[in-house]
Amino acid sequence: MARQLMKGNVAIAEAALRAGLEAYFGYPITPQTELLEYLAQRMPELGRVFLQAESEIAAINMVYGAACAGARTMTSSSGPGMSLMQEGLSYIAGSDIPAVVVDVMRGGPGLGNIQPSQSDYFQVTRSAGHGDYHPIVLAPGSVQEAVDLTVLAFDLADHYRHLVILAADGLIGQMMEPCELPPMRPLPSSKPDYALTGAKDRPARRIASLYLKPEDGEAHNRKIQARLAQIRESEQRSVEHFTEDADFLVIGYGSAGRIAYSAVEAARAQGLRAGLFRPISLYPFPDIRLSQLLAQVEGCLVVEMNAGQMLEDVRLAAGHDLPVAFYGRMGGMVPTTEDVLSALKSAYSEFVAESAPVVGKVKG
Protein backbone atom coordinates (compact mmCIF):
# COMPACT_ATOMS: atom_id res chain seq x y z
CA MET A 1 0.00 0.00 0.00
CA ALA A 2 1.19 3.52 -0.76
CA ARG A 3 2.69 5.64 1.96
CA GLN A 4 0.77 8.73 2.87
CA LEU A 5 1.44 11.81 4.97
CA MET A 6 -0.61 11.63 8.14
CA LYS A 7 -0.84 13.30 11.51
CA GLY A 8 -0.07 10.87 14.36
CA ASN A 9 -3.48 11.09 16.01
CA VAL A 10 -5.29 10.55 12.71
CA ALA A 11 -3.00 7.67 11.77
CA ILE A 12 -3.70 5.95 15.11
CA ALA A 13 -7.44 6.39 14.58
CA GLU A 14 -7.36 5.00 11.04
CA ALA A 15 -5.12 2.11 12.12
CA ALA A 16 -7.52 1.31 14.96
CA LEU A 17 -10.52 1.01 12.71
CA ARG A 18 -8.57 -1.03 10.19
CA ALA A 19 -7.58 -3.34 13.05
CA GLY A 20 -11.26 -3.90 13.70
CA LEU A 21 -12.31 -1.18 16.15
CA GLU A 22 -16.07 -1.62 16.58
CA ALA A 23 -16.88 0.94 19.27
CA TYR A 24 -15.12 4.15 20.28
CA PHE A 25 -16.04 6.38 23.23
CA GLY A 26 -14.06 9.50 24.09
CA TYR A 27 -13.94 13.03 25.41
CA PRO A 28 -12.04 15.96 23.87
CA ILE A 29 -8.64 16.86 25.31
CA THR A 30 -5.55 18.28 23.61
CA PRO A 31 -3.23 16.91 22.25
CA GLN A 32 -5.45 13.91 21.49
CA THR A 33 -8.58 15.51 20.07
CA GLU A 34 -7.99 14.86 16.34
CA LEU A 35 -8.24 11.16 17.11
CA LEU A 36 -11.78 11.62 18.44
CA GLU A 37 -12.74 14.02 15.65
CA TYR A 38 -11.50 11.68 12.96
CA LEU A 39 -13.41 8.73 14.38
CA ALA A 40 -16.53 10.90 14.71
CA GLN A 41 -16.47 11.02 10.93
CA ARG A 42 -15.20 7.56 10.05
CA MET A 43 -16.98 5.25 12.50
CA PRO A 44 -20.54 6.19 11.45
CA GLU A 45 -19.46 5.94 7.78
CA LEU A 46 -18.58 2.31 8.49
CA GLY A 47 -21.74 1.69 10.52
CA ARG A 48 -19.72 1.35 13.73
CA VAL A 49 -20.25 2.89 17.16
CA PHE A 50 -18.92 6.37 17.95
CA LEU A 51 -20.10 8.28 20.99
CA GLN A 52 -18.72 11.41 22.59
CA ALA A 53 -19.10 10.71 26.30
CA GLU A 54 -19.97 13.29 28.94
CA SER A 55 -16.62 12.74 30.67
CA GLU A 56 -13.61 10.46 30.65
CA ILE A 57 -15.22 8.59 33.56
CA ALA A 58 -18.24 7.83 31.41
CA ALA A 59 -16.05 7.11 28.36
CA ILE A 60 -14.01 4.40 30.07
CA ASN A 61 -17.14 2.81 31.52
CA MET A 62 -18.77 2.80 28.10
CA VAL A 63 -15.62 1.06 26.88
CA TYR A 64 -16.03 -1.37 29.80
CA GLY A 65 -19.62 -2.06 28.70
CA ALA A 66 -18.67 -2.46 25.04
CA ALA A 67 -15.86 -4.85 26.02
CA CYS A 68 -18.38 -6.87 28.07
CA ALA A 69 -20.51 -7.02 24.91
CA GLY A 70 -17.52 -8.57 23.14
CA ALA A 71 -16.66 -5.60 20.92
CA ARG A 72 -13.19 -4.41 19.96
CA THR A 73 -13.29 -1.10 21.78
CA MET A 74 -11.08 1.88 22.52
CA THR A 75 -10.89 5.30 24.10
CA SER A 76 -8.20 7.96 23.96
CA SER A 77 -7.19 10.78 26.22
CA SER A 78 -4.34 12.70 27.81
CA GLY A 79 -3.09 13.49 31.37
CA PRO A 80 -6.13 14.80 33.29
CA GLY A 81 -8.48 12.51 31.38
CA MET A 82 -6.27 9.50 32.08
CA SER A 83 -6.42 10.38 35.78
CA LEU A 84 -10.22 10.35 35.65
CA MET A 85 -10.22 6.93 34.00
CA GLN A 86 -8.21 5.16 36.67
CA GLU A 87 -11.11 3.41 38.42
CA GLY A 88 -12.59 2.13 35.15
CA LEU A 89 -9.20 0.90 33.93
CA SER A 90 -8.82 -1.09 37.13
CA TYR A 91 -12.28 -2.65 36.78
CA ILE A 92 -11.50 -3.65 33.19
CA ALA A 93 -8.22 -5.20 34.32
CA GLY A 94 -9.98 -6.93 37.21
CA SER A 95 -12.57 -8.41 34.84
CA ASP A 96 -10.07 -10.05 32.46
CA ILE A 97 -11.50 -8.43 29.34
CA PRO A 98 -9.64 -6.67 26.52
CA ALA A 99 -9.64 -2.93 25.84
CA VAL A 100 -7.29 -0.42 24.24
CA VAL A 101 -6.60 3.07 25.60
CA VAL A 102 -4.49 5.69 23.83
CA ASP A 103 -2.74 8.23 26.08
CA VAL A 104 -1.27 11.12 24.09
CA MET A 105 0.84 12.45 26.95
CA ARG A 106 0.99 16.16 27.80
CA GLY A 107 2.76 18.25 30.42
CA GLY A 108 1.63 17.92 34.04
CA PRO A 109 1.01 17.82 36.94
CA GLY A 110 -2.42 19.37 37.31
CA LEU A 111 -3.73 21.06 34.23
CA GLY A 112 -0.09 21.46 33.17
CA ASN A 113 -0.16 22.32 29.53
CA ILE A 114 -0.79 20.81 26.12
CA GLN A 115 2.85 20.44 25.16
CA PRO A 116 4.41 17.01 24.58
CA SER A 117 5.59 15.10 27.62
CA GLN A 118 6.24 11.64 28.96
CA SER A 119 5.14 12.41 32.47
CA ASP A 120 2.53 9.62 32.63
CA TYR A 121 5.14 6.82 32.54
CA PHE A 122 4.56 5.91 36.18
CA GLN A 123 0.80 6.22 35.83
CA VAL A 124 0.51 3.92 32.83
CA THR A 125 3.19 1.35 33.65
CA ARG A 126 2.77 1.03 37.40
CA SER A 127 -0.89 0.01 37.22
CA ALA A 128 -3.18 2.70 35.79
CA GLY A 129 -5.66 2.43 38.64
CA HIS A 130 -5.88 0.78 42.02
CA GLY A 131 -4.96 -2.83 42.68
CA ASP A 132 -2.18 -5.16 41.77
CA TYR A 133 -1.76 -5.31 38.01
CA HIS A 134 -0.05 -3.68 35.05
CA PRO A 135 -1.49 -2.89 31.65
CA ILE A 136 0.59 -3.73 28.60
CA VAL A 137 2.09 -0.37 27.55
CA LEU A 138 3.48 0.39 24.08
CA ALA A 139 5.40 3.57 23.20
CA PRO A 140 5.72 4.55 19.52
CA GLY A 141 8.67 6.59 18.28
CA SER A 142 7.21 7.59 14.91
CA VAL A 143 3.86 7.86 13.15
CA GLN A 144 4.55 4.57 11.37
CA GLU A 145 5.29 2.88 14.65
CA ALA A 146 2.13 4.37 16.14
CA VAL A 147 0.16 2.73 13.33
CA ASP A 148 1.87 -0.63 13.77
CA LEU A 149 1.60 -0.60 17.55
CA THR A 150 -2.09 0.34 17.41
CA VAL A 151 -2.78 -2.87 15.48
CA LEU A 152 -0.55 -4.81 17.87
CA ALA A 153 -2.37 -3.26 20.84
CA PHE A 154 -5.68 -4.75 19.73
CA ASP A 155 -4.15 -8.13 19.02
CA LEU A 156 -2.37 -8.28 22.39
CA ALA A 157 -5.52 -7.12 24.20
CA ASP A 158 -7.54 -9.91 22.59
CA HIS A 159 -4.86 -12.56 22.94
CA TYR A 160 -4.27 -12.00 26.66
CA ARG A 161 -7.71 -10.57 27.48
CA HIS A 162 -5.79 -7.71 28.99
CA LEU A 163 -5.78 -3.91 29.06
CA VAL A 164 -3.35 -2.31 26.59
CA ILE A 165 -2.29 1.34 26.68
CA LEU A 166 -0.65 3.01 23.71
CA ALA A 167 1.49 5.67 25.39
CA ALA A 168 2.22 8.21 22.69
CA ASP A 169 3.66 11.58 23.61
CA GLY A 170 2.18 14.79 22.25
CA LEU A 171 4.85 15.02 19.53
CA ILE A 172 3.84 11.66 18.05
CA GLY A 173 0.18 12.65 18.20
CA GLN A 174 0.68 16.02 16.57
CA MET A 175 3.41 15.54 13.98
CA MET A 176 2.87 14.60 10.33
CA GLU A 177 4.94 11.84 8.80
CA PRO A 178 4.60 9.47 5.88
CA CYS A 179 3.27 6.11 6.90
CA GLU A 180 1.83 2.95 5.46
CA LEU A 181 -1.51 1.86 6.80
CA PRO A 182 -2.48 -1.75 7.40
CA PRO A 183 -5.18 -3.36 5.23
CA MET A 184 -8.77 -3.12 6.43
CA ARG A 185 -9.60 -6.25 8.40
CA PRO A 186 -13.07 -7.73 8.23
CA LEU A 187 -14.93 -7.59 11.53
CA PRO A 188 -15.24 -10.93 13.32
CA SER A 189 -18.37 -12.88 12.43
CA SER A 190 -18.84 -14.22 15.95
CA LYS A 191 -18.50 -12.83 19.47
CA PRO A 192 -15.84 -14.03 21.95
CA ASP A 193 -16.91 -16.68 24.46
CA TYR A 194 -17.08 -14.28 27.42
CA ALA A 195 -19.37 -11.75 25.70
CA LEU A 196 -22.66 -10.80 27.33
CA THR A 197 -25.00 -11.32 24.43
CA GLY A 198 -28.06 -12.70 26.25
CA ALA A 199 -28.25 -16.21 27.76
CA LYS A 200 -29.80 -17.91 24.75
CA ASP A 201 -29.17 -21.66 24.51
CA ARG A 202 -26.39 -21.42 27.08
CA PRO A 203 -25.97 -20.73 30.81
CA ALA A 204 -25.92 -17.10 31.92
CA ARG A 205 -22.54 -15.35 31.76
CA ARG A 206 -21.28 -12.85 34.27
CA ILE A 207 -18.46 -10.34 34.14
CA ALA A 208 -17.30 -8.75 37.38
CA SER A 209 -14.18 -7.87 39.32
CA LEU A 210 -15.70 -8.76 42.71
CA TYR A 211 -14.22 -11.53 44.87
CA LEU A 212 -15.66 -11.26 48.35
CA LYS A 213 -13.71 -14.11 49.91
CA PRO A 214 -10.02 -13.26 50.32
CA GLU A 215 -9.09 -16.78 49.16
CA ASP A 216 -10.94 -16.17 45.90
CA GLY A 217 -9.45 -12.70 45.62
CA GLU A 218 -5.95 -14.10 45.98
CA ALA A 219 -6.64 -16.86 43.47
CA HIS A 220 -7.83 -14.27 40.95
CA ASN A 221 -4.76 -12.14 41.60
CA ARG A 222 -2.53 -15.16 41.07
CA LYS A 223 -4.20 -15.70 37.72
CA ILE A 224 -3.48 -12.08 36.73
CA GLN A 225 0.12 -12.40 37.94
CA ALA A 226 0.64 -15.63 35.99
CA ARG A 227 -0.60 -13.88 32.86
CA LEU A 228 1.73 -10.94 33.54
CA ALA A 229 4.65 -13.33 34.00
CA GLN A 230 3.91 -14.76 30.58
CA ILE A 231 3.60 -11.27 29.13
CA ARG A 232 6.98 -10.33 30.63
CA GLU A 233 8.51 -13.36 29.03
CA SER A 234 6.95 -13.07 25.58
CA GLU A 235 6.16 -9.43 24.90
CA GLN A 236 9.31 -7.43 25.59
CA ARG A 237 10.00 -5.17 22.63
CA SER A 238 12.78 -2.73 21.88
CA VAL A 239 14.95 -1.42 19.07
CA GLU A 240 18.63 -0.61 19.21
CA HIS A 241 21.20 1.23 17.15
CA PHE A 242 25.03 1.23 17.19
CA THR A 243 25.07 -1.26 20.06
CA GLU A 244 27.46 -3.86 18.60
CA ASP A 245 30.64 -2.20 19.84
CA ALA A 246 29.11 0.34 22.24
CA ASP A 247 30.81 1.04 25.55
CA PHE A 248 28.15 3.54 26.53
CA LEU A 249 24.37 3.24 26.15
CA VAL A 250 21.73 5.92 25.76
CA ILE A 251 18.20 4.82 26.66
CA GLY A 252 15.05 6.65 25.66
CA TYR A 253 11.56 5.83 24.35
CA GLY A 254 9.06 7.63 22.13
CA SER A 255 10.10 11.09 20.97
CA ALA A 256 12.89 11.28 23.54
CA GLY A 257 14.28 8.08 22.06
CA ARG A 258 14.24 9.66 18.63
CA ILE A 259 16.05 12.77 19.78
CA ALA A 260 18.51 10.53 21.59
CA TYR A 261 19.12 8.70 18.30
CA SER A 262 20.25 11.93 16.66
CA ALA A 263 22.50 12.66 19.64
CA VAL A 264 24.05 9.18 19.50
CA GLU A 265 24.64 9.56 15.78
CA ALA A 266 26.38 12.88 16.41
CA ALA A 267 28.45 11.33 19.20
CA ARG A 268 29.52 8.53 16.86
CA ALA A 269 30.64 11.13 14.33
CA GLN A 270 32.82 12.57 17.08
CA GLY A 271 34.39 9.18 17.77
CA LEU A 272 32.44 8.11 20.86
CA ARG A 273 31.28 4.50 20.98
CA ALA A 274 27.75 5.30 22.05
CA GLY A 275 24.76 3.07 21.36
CA LEU A 276 21.03 3.63 21.62
CA PHE A 277 18.40 1.40 23.23
CA ARG A 278 14.79 2.39 22.65
CA PRO A 279 12.15 0.46 24.62
CA ILE A 280 8.94 -0.10 22.63
CA SER A 281 7.10 -1.95 25.37
CA LEU A 282 7.23 0.12 28.55
CA TYR A 283 5.37 -2.69 30.27
CA PRO A 284 6.77 -5.28 30.05
CA PHE A 285 9.96 -3.23 30.37
CA PRO A 286 12.49 -4.85 28.00
CA ASP A 287 14.94 -5.68 30.76
CA ILE A 288 16.09 -9.01 29.31
CA ARG A 289 17.83 -7.34 26.36
CA LEU A 290 18.70 -4.20 28.31
CA SER A 291 20.55 -6.21 30.97
CA GLN A 292 22.66 -7.88 28.29
CA LEU A 293 23.58 -4.51 26.82
CA LEU A 294 24.25 -2.96 30.20
CA ALA A 295 26.65 -5.80 30.98
CA GLN A 296 28.64 -4.75 27.92
CA VAL A 297 28.89 -0.98 28.56
CA GLU A 298 30.64 1.14 31.18
CA GLY A 299 27.83 3.55 31.81
CA CYS A 300 24.52 4.76 30.49
CA LEU A 301 22.35 7.82 30.09
CA VAL A 302 18.56 7.83 30.37
CA VAL A 303 16.74 10.53 28.38
CA GLU A 304 13.08 11.28 29.11
CA MET A 305 10.59 14.11 28.83
CA ASN A 306 9.92 13.93 32.58
CA ALA A 307 11.84 14.09 35.86
CA GLY A 308 13.14 10.52 35.60
CA GLN A 309 10.50 7.79 35.62
CA MET A 310 11.74 5.02 33.31
CA LEU A 311 15.04 5.85 35.02
CA GLU A 312 13.90 3.64 37.91
CA ASP A 313 13.38 0.65 35.61
CA VAL A 314 16.81 1.20 34.08
CA ARG A 315 18.41 1.38 37.53
CA LEU A 316 16.74 -1.91 38.44
CA ALA A 317 18.16 -3.49 35.29
CA ALA A 318 21.59 -1.90 35.85
CA GLY A 319 22.06 -3.07 39.43
CA HIS A 320 24.50 -1.39 41.79
CA ASP A 321 27.70 -1.32 39.80
CA LEU A 322 26.85 0.47 36.59
CA PRO A 323 26.65 4.28 36.69
CA VAL A 324 23.38 5.66 35.33
CA ALA A 325 23.12 9.32 34.30
CA PHE A 326 19.88 11.13 33.52
CA TYR A 327 18.82 13.97 31.27
CA GLY A 328 15.18 15.03 31.41
CA ARG A 329 13.04 18.00 30.47
CA MET A 330 9.71 18.63 32.13
CA GLY A 331 6.46 20.52 31.87
CA GLY A 332 6.15 20.18 28.10
CA MET A 333 9.77 21.08 27.19
CA VAL A 334 11.26 18.96 24.43
CA PRO A 335 15.04 18.35 24.59
CA THR A 336 17.14 19.31 21.58
CA THR A 337 19.73 17.02 20.03
CA GLU A 338 22.45 19.41 21.31
CA ASP A 339 21.07 19.18 24.87
CA VAL A 340 21.21 15.39 24.79
CA LEU A 341 24.58 15.33 23.06
CA SER A 342 26.17 17.48 25.71
CA ALA A 343 24.62 15.33 28.51
CA LEU A 344 25.90 12.27 26.65
CA LYS A 345 29.43 13.66 26.31
CA SER A 346 29.72 14.65 29.91
CA ALA A 347 28.43 11.28 31.18
CA TYR A 348 30.65 9.51 28.67
CA SER A 349 33.80 11.27 29.79
CA GLU A 350 32.90 10.58 33.40
CA PHE A 351 32.04 6.88 33.06
CA VAL A 352 34.05 5.48 30.17
CA ALA A 353 37.71 4.96 31.18
CA GLU A 354 39.36 5.10 27.79
CA SER A 355 37.46 4.45 24.68
CA ALA A 356 38.94 2.54 21.77
CA PRO A 357 38.38 4.59 18.62
CA VAL A 358 35.48 3.66 16.39
CA VAL A 359 36.71 1.44 13.56
CA GLY A 360 34.75 1.13 10.33
CA LYS A 361 31.04 1.78 10.17
CA VAL A 362 28.65 0.26 12.69
CA LYS A 363 25.13 -0.26 11.45
CA GLY A 364 22.56 2.10 12.92
Binding site: A53, N61, G65, G198, R205
Partner: protein, 260 residues
Amino acid sequence: MSPIPMVPPAMEPVYQHPLALADVHTTYCPGCTHGIAHRLIAEAIDELGLRERAILVAPVGCAVFSYEYFNMDGCEAPHGRAPAMATGIKRCQPDQIVMTYQGDGDLASIGIGEAIHAASRAEPITIIFVNNAIYGMTGGQMAPTTLAGQKTTSSPAGRAIPIPGQPLHISELLAGLPGSAYVVRRSLHDAANIRKAKKAIVTALKVQMAGLGFSLVELLSSCPTNWGMTPPQALDWIKTNMLPIYPVGDYKIVEAAKQL
Protein backbone atom coordinates in the same frame (compact mmCIF):
# COMPACT_ATOMS: atom_id res chain seq x y z
CA MET B 1 -69.98 -35.21 54.83
CA SER B 2 -68.16 -36.12 51.65
CA PRO B 3 -65.12 -38.34 52.01
CA ILE B 4 -61.68 -36.78 51.66
CA PRO B 5 -60.52 -37.53 48.10
CA MET B 6 -57.42 -39.73 48.03
CA VAL B 7 -56.13 -38.11 44.83
CA PRO B 8 -56.03 -34.32 44.93
CA PRO B 9 -57.82 -32.63 42.03
CA ALA B 10 -55.58 -31.17 39.29
CA MET B 11 -54.17 -27.93 40.66
CA GLU B 12 -53.34 -24.69 38.93
CA PRO B 13 -49.92 -23.40 40.00
CA VAL B 14 -50.44 -20.05 41.70
CA TYR B 15 -46.76 -19.51 42.50
CA GLN B 16 -43.67 -20.43 40.55
CA HIS B 17 -40.07 -19.50 40.88
CA PRO B 18 -39.49 -17.05 38.01
CA LEU B 19 -37.17 -18.49 35.39
CA ALA B 20 -35.21 -15.23 35.29
CA LEU B 21 -34.48 -15.40 39.01
CA ALA B 22 -31.45 -17.56 39.87
CA ASP B 23 -31.98 -20.22 42.50
CA VAL B 24 -29.40 -18.89 44.95
CA HIS B 25 -29.31 -17.35 48.41
CA THR B 26 -28.91 -13.60 48.39
CA THR B 27 -26.90 -11.40 50.72
CA TYR B 28 -29.90 -9.20 51.52
CA CYS B 29 -31.02 -8.75 55.12
CA PRO B 30 -34.28 -10.38 56.17
CA GLY B 31 -37.22 -8.13 55.37
CA CYS B 32 -35.30 -5.96 52.91
CA THR B 33 -37.33 -4.89 49.86
CA HIS B 34 -34.38 -5.45 47.48
CA GLY B 35 -35.68 -9.05 47.35
CA ILE B 36 -39.14 -7.92 46.28
CA ALA B 37 -37.69 -5.66 43.61
CA HIS B 38 -35.67 -8.59 42.24
CA ARG B 39 -38.71 -10.79 42.07
CA LEU B 40 -40.72 -8.16 40.22
CA ILE B 41 -37.97 -7.69 37.66
CA ALA B 42 -37.66 -11.44 37.12
CA GLU B 43 -41.43 -11.81 36.67
CA ALA B 44 -41.51 -8.93 34.22
CA ILE B 45 -38.62 -10.42 32.23
CA ASP B 46 -40.37 -13.81 32.14
CA GLU B 47 -43.71 -12.37 31.12
CA LEU B 48 -42.15 -10.45 28.24
CA GLY B 49 -39.98 -13.41 27.24
CA LEU B 50 -36.81 -11.33 27.52
CA ARG B 51 -34.54 -13.57 29.60
CA GLU B 52 -32.43 -14.70 26.65
CA ARG B 53 -31.99 -11.15 25.38
CA ALA B 54 -31.44 -9.36 28.67
CA ILE B 55 -28.24 -8.01 30.19
CA LEU B 56 -28.25 -6.61 33.71
CA VAL B 57 -25.72 -4.08 34.96
CA ALA B 58 -25.38 -4.33 38.74
CA PRO B 59 -24.35 -1.34 40.90
CA VAL B 60 -22.04 -0.91 43.84
CA GLY B 61 -24.30 -1.08 46.89
CA CYS B 62 -26.21 -3.87 48.61
CA ALA B 63 -27.24 -5.07 45.13
CA VAL B 64 -23.61 -5.44 44.07
CA PHE B 65 -24.17 -9.18 43.59
CA SER B 66 -27.46 -8.81 41.72
CA TYR B 67 -25.75 -10.01 38.54
CA GLU B 68 -25.58 -13.38 40.34
CA TYR B 69 -29.22 -13.30 41.42
CA PHE B 70 -30.73 -13.30 37.96
CA ASN B 71 -30.61 -16.20 35.60
CA MET B 72 -29.44 -13.99 32.75
CA ASP B 73 -26.26 -12.32 31.52
CA GLY B 74 -24.93 -9.65 33.84
CA CYS B 75 -22.00 -7.51 34.88
CA GLU B 76 -21.00 -5.26 37.73
CA ALA B 77 -20.26 -1.55 37.22
CA PRO B 78 -18.05 0.79 39.22
CA HIS B 79 -20.01 2.84 41.78
CA GLY B 80 -22.48 5.02 39.88
CA ARG B 81 -21.30 4.15 36.38
CA ALA B 82 -23.91 1.55 35.47
CA PRO B 83 -25.69 3.83 32.94
CA ALA B 84 -22.38 4.41 31.11
CA MET B 85 -21.66 0.68 31.03
CA ALA B 86 -25.21 -0.01 29.91
CA THR B 87 -24.72 2.56 27.15
CA GLY B 88 -21.61 0.74 25.93
CA ILE B 89 -23.48 -2.57 25.90
CA LYS B 90 -26.63 -1.20 24.28
CA ARG B 91 -24.80 0.72 21.54
CA CYS B 92 -22.97 -2.46 20.55
CA GLN B 93 -26.11 -4.64 20.74
CA PRO B 94 -29.15 -2.45 20.04
CA ASP B 95 -31.46 -5.47 19.88
CA GLN B 96 -30.67 -6.69 23.37
CA ILE B 97 -32.50 -5.50 26.48
CA VAL B 98 -30.15 -3.67 28.82
CA MET B 99 -31.08 -2.69 32.35
CA THR B 100 -29.31 -1.24 35.36
CA TYR B 101 -30.27 -1.76 38.98
CA GLN B 102 -29.04 1.08 41.19
CA GLY B 103 -29.38 2.35 44.72
CA ASP B 104 -29.75 5.99 45.70
CA GLY B 105 -26.12 6.43 46.64
CA ASP B 106 -25.10 4.86 43.36
CA LEU B 107 -27.48 6.76 41.09
CA ALA B 108 -28.45 9.95 42.93
CA SER B 109 -25.03 10.78 44.35
CA ILE B 110 -21.85 9.54 42.70
CA GLY B 111 -23.51 8.52 39.43
CA ILE B 112 -25.95 11.33 38.81
CA GLY B 113 -23.93 12.60 35.85
CA GLU B 114 -24.13 9.27 34.04
CA ALA B 115 -27.86 8.96 34.80
CA ILE B 116 -28.66 12.47 33.53
CA HIS B 117 -26.64 12.02 30.34
CA ALA B 118 -28.10 8.59 29.61
CA ALA B 119 -31.58 10.09 29.92
CA SER B 120 -30.55 13.13 27.93
CA ARG B 121 -29.28 10.94 25.07
CA ALA B 122 -32.60 9.06 25.16
CA GLU B 123 -30.48 5.96 25.69
CA PRO B 124 -32.91 3.06 25.26
CA ILE B 125 -32.00 1.41 28.56
CA THR B 126 -34.13 0.73 31.64
CA ILE B 127 -33.03 1.80 35.11
CA ILE B 128 -34.53 0.29 38.24
CA PHE B 129 -33.76 2.89 40.87
CA VAL B 130 -34.04 1.65 44.44
CA ASN B 131 -34.56 4.60 46.76
CA ASN B 132 -34.18 3.58 50.41
CA ALA B 133 -33.07 7.02 51.61
CA ILE B 134 -29.78 5.68 52.93
CA TYR B 135 -26.45 4.04 52.03
CA GLY B 136 -27.18 0.44 52.94
CA MET B 137 -24.01 -1.38 52.09
CA THR B 138 -21.56 0.91 53.85
CA GLY B 139 -23.59 0.88 57.05
CA GLY B 140 -26.25 3.58 56.95
CA GLN B 141 -24.71 6.89 55.93
CA MET B 142 -26.72 9.80 54.56
CA ALA B 143 -27.76 9.61 50.91
CA PRO B 144 -28.87 12.52 48.69
CA THR B 145 -32.38 11.11 49.20
CA THR B 146 -32.19 11.00 53.02
CA LEU B 147 -35.17 12.88 54.47
CA ALA B 148 -34.88 16.12 56.43
CA GLY B 149 -34.25 15.24 60.05
CA GLN B 150 -33.55 11.57 59.28
CA LYS B 151 -30.80 10.16 61.49
CA THR B 152 -28.01 8.29 59.73
CA THR B 153 -24.49 7.41 60.83
CA SER B 154 -23.17 10.47 58.99
CA SER B 155 -26.01 12.74 60.07
CA PRO B 156 -26.26 11.56 63.69
CA ALA B 157 -28.37 14.54 64.74
CA GLY B 158 -30.67 14.13 61.76
CA ARG B 159 -30.23 15.59 58.26
CA ALA B 160 -29.94 19.32 58.87
CA ILE B 161 -31.03 20.99 55.67
CA PRO B 162 -28.63 24.00 55.79
CA ILE B 163 -25.65 21.66 55.62
CA PRO B 164 -26.31 18.96 52.95
CA GLY B 165 -29.32 20.70 51.38
CA GLN B 166 -32.72 19.28 50.51
CA PRO B 167 -33.36 15.65 49.49
CA LEU B 168 -32.92 15.05 45.78
CA HIS B 169 -35.94 14.05 43.69
CA ILE B 170 -34.58 11.88 40.91
CA SER B 171 -37.78 11.01 39.05
CA GLU B 172 -38.86 14.65 38.93
CA LEU B 173 -35.38 15.67 37.77
CA LEU B 174 -35.01 13.08 35.00
CA ALA B 175 -38.61 13.48 33.83
CA GLY B 176 -37.67 17.01 32.85
CA LEU B 177 -35.26 15.80 30.16
CA PRO B 178 -36.52 15.45 26.58
CA GLY B 179 -34.82 12.04 26.20
CA SER B 180 -36.88 10.46 28.98
CA ALA B 181 -39.73 8.35 27.61
CA TYR B 182 -40.97 6.74 30.80
CA VAL B 183 -40.13 7.90 34.33
CA VAL B 184 -42.35 6.83 37.21
CA ARG B 185 -42.15 6.37 40.97
CA ARG B 186 -43.70 3.40 42.75
CA SER B 187 -43.45 2.00 46.26
CA LEU B 188 -42.85 -1.45 47.71
CA HIS B 189 -44.50 -0.92 51.10
CA ASP B 190 -47.68 -2.97 50.55
CA ALA B 191 -49.23 -5.50 48.19
CA ALA B 192 -51.29 -3.04 46.16
CA ASN B 193 -48.26 -0.83 45.54
CA ILE B 194 -46.06 -3.82 44.76
CA ARG B 195 -48.52 -4.85 42.03
CA LYS B 196 -48.34 -1.35 40.55
CA ALA B 197 -44.55 -1.45 40.74
CA LYS B 198 -44.52 -4.68 38.76
CA LYS B 199 -46.75 -3.18 36.08
CA ALA B 200 -44.45 -0.18 35.81
CA ILE B 201 -41.39 -2.41 35.35
CA VAL B 202 -43.19 -4.29 32.57
CA THR B 203 -44.08 -1.00 30.87
CA ALA B 204 -40.56 0.35 31.23
CA LEU B 205 -39.18 -2.75 29.51
CA LYS B 206 -41.80 -2.44 26.78
CA VAL B 207 -40.68 1.16 26.26
CA GLN B 208 -37.17 -0.14 25.71
CA MET B 209 -38.39 -2.92 23.39
CA ALA B 210 -40.25 -0.33 21.34
CA GLY B 211 -37.12 1.86 21.21
CA LEU B 212 -38.96 4.85 22.64
CA GLY B 213 -36.05 6.15 24.70
CA PHE B 214 -34.89 6.21 28.30
CA SER B 215 -36.98 4.52 31.00
CA LEU B 216 -36.66 4.55 34.78
CA VAL B 217 -38.76 3.10 37.57
CA GLU B 218 -38.01 4.51 41.02
CA LEU B 219 -38.95 2.12 43.82
CA LEU B 220 -39.38 3.43 47.36
CA SER B 221 -37.73 0.72 49.41
CA SER B 222 -36.88 -0.16 52.97
CA CYS B 223 -33.61 -0.72 54.78
CA PRO B 224 -34.74 -2.15 58.10
CA THR B 225 -31.16 -2.84 59.16
CA ASN B 226 -29.83 0.67 58.85
CA TRP B 227 -33.07 2.40 59.71
CA GLY B 228 -32.97 0.43 62.98
CA MET B 229 -36.48 -0.98 62.57
CA THR B 230 -38.28 -4.28 62.23
CA PRO B 231 -39.32 -5.06 58.65
CA PRO B 232 -43.01 -4.15 59.29
CA GLN B 233 -42.00 -0.90 61.01
CA ALA B 234 -39.79 -0.12 58.02
CA LEU B 235 -42.65 -0.65 55.55
CA ASP B 236 -44.77 1.62 57.67
CA TRP B 237 -41.98 4.21 57.69
CA ILE B 238 -42.02 4.27 53.88
CA LYS B 239 -45.72 4.98 53.98
CA THR B 240 -45.70 7.64 56.67
CA ASN B 241 -42.40 9.37 56.00
CA MET B 242 -41.22 8.75 52.46
CA LEU B 243 -44.48 8.88 50.51
CA PRO B 244 -45.27 12.51 51.44
CA ILE B 245 -41.81 13.62 50.27
CA TYR B 246 -41.56 11.25 47.30
CA PRO B 247 -45.10 10.87 45.98
CA VAL B 248 -45.70 7.85 43.79
CA GLY B 249 -46.83 8.82 40.31
CA ASP B 250 -46.12 9.03 36.60
CA TYR B 251 -43.58 11.78 36.08
CA LYS B 252 -43.11 11.33 32.36
CA ILE B 253 -44.88 9.02 29.95
CA VAL B 254 -44.49 9.97 26.30
CA GLU B 255 -47.56 9.58 24.11
CA ALA B 256 -46.24 6.46 22.32
CA ALA B 257 -45.60 4.77 25.68
CA LYS B 258 -49.22 5.25 26.70
CA GLN B 259 -50.27 2.94 23.88
CA LEU B 260 -48.11 0.05 25.18
